[in-house]
Symmetry: C2
Subunit: 221 residues, 2 copies
DNA sequence: CGCGTATTCAATAGATTACTTGAATAATAG
DNA sequence: CTATTATTCAAGTAATCTATTGAATACGCG
């Protein structure tokens, strides 16, 4: 028989490099942001609160293991996720965390009401209900992200404008809000606000990256 | 609106702890071994080649983030994976690695022939073919692992006994070999040996942990 | 061309991690 | 009870990782 030790070790050592890439909260936040679409270094630094140089270094690490790819456009470098496998990996990590790191669940559930978390709409059911006109889908992400891709038929009201633009939403029809993913908190706030104003609102179970992952269609523009 | 910074950061920091747990080749090897079933510390130390104290420390880290659980039995501590989410996470990591860390693919494909890698049988198709008696499923793992759970109808011939016990296998029927998972190399060797002896042999695409994950049935004993 | 902006590189100090060694705990066997 | 085995704990050193700082590179603009 052949010598098993070397290639096996080498495989695990390479996988461990990916593990290392996932071992920093900043890098995970970067991955979540990049799951929305391309972004520049400066922009990412602003969103995460880290310095530009530090953000660049984290991005390099993610790039080295192939989780993200960079594209030079004029003087900017635009980064994006390397592919769907990365979304799947990120999602698995979140699932494992929710299941076993009880802290995470506790934090989320303490910060918001447990009720909100339970009354989510699975993405799979949503699409047909939208087609039948039974629900209004509300995308609370910034306009640029909406333009880059959104759930078909969704209305875009960024979270900061929601209070001011409440009149645009139907008072009787059910509203399903979504944002970036299961750890994106904007849709929690949206549902909270809408309910306070007497509207029927729920959260979509996942965000747009998971929607895409599930092979469901998106519209652009 | 509420203060987003804290809970979100806290979530990512907790997920990063899981990432850290995945950032060591030794720990990944331990996870792969534990994907087969319960094992003691000493046993794991022997299999990985690390010292007992070191193995114990790695196991502690995996336990701290909830990926594995320990059970005390007499003077032994038996560890096992905490649940299916861990298998899913491990699998996602492997997929991401295969897709983006070209090293891994290269190592695997260089070490074995590319042909072997392509001619795999998807687990989903296998079960019905077994029922119809069209294929013989060969489990080349050690007997203890076989006893802890195996594909229904599978024949167990540990890889080291394969050469000696070749006569037990049908010469005309197709043989599908499997072992622990996509990075378990025993089934590669088995297929290699069987083909050299003129038998029709292929590898199952994944191993038993993935089989279990897919919700397919297993037999014990 | 020179200037401003975006990004990366290089060097550094502080924190974290890995593995070893030797001792401590826990449970069984004689 | 003592000896033995399995596991964990504690301490120490070498190595690695993080975030900061300041400089270097690359590109577009006027």
């Amino acid at each position: 028989m052949s010598n098993h030790v070397n290639p096996k070790r080498a495989v695990f050592e390479n996988l461990a490099r990916i593990g290392t890439a996932l071992s920093s909260a900043v890098r995970l936040e970067l991955l979540e942001l990049l799951a929305q679409g391309e972004r520049g270094v400066d922009e990412l630094a602003g969103l995460t609160g880290a310095s530009v140089a530090n953000t660049s270094q984290h991005l390099q690490k993610l790039k080295q293991v192939g989780l993200i790819v960079g594209r030079k456009e004029a003087q900017y470098v635009k980064y994006r996720l390397a592919g769907d496998e990365v979304v799947a990996l990120f999602h698995s990590l979140g699932m494992a965390g929710q299941a076993y790191l009880t802290d995470i669940e506790r934090i989320v559930r303490l910060y918001f009401t447990a009720k909100d978390d339970l009354e989510t709409v699975p993405a799979s059911e949503l699409l047909e209900r939208v087609k039948k006109g039974l629900v209004t889908v509300l995308d609370v992400r910034p306009s640029e992200e909406f333009a880059a891709g959104h759930v078909p038929g969704a209305v875009n009201i960024p979270i900061h404008e929601l209070q001011r633009r409440l009149a645009e939403l139907p008072r009787r029809k059910e509203i399903v809000a979504y944002c970036r993913g299961p750890y994106c908190l904007m849709s929690y706030d949206a549902v909270h606000l809408l309910r306070k104003r007497g509207l029927k609102a729920r959260r979509m179970a996942d965000g747009l990256p998971e929607w895409r992952m599930a092979g469901l269609p998106t519209d652009v523009g």
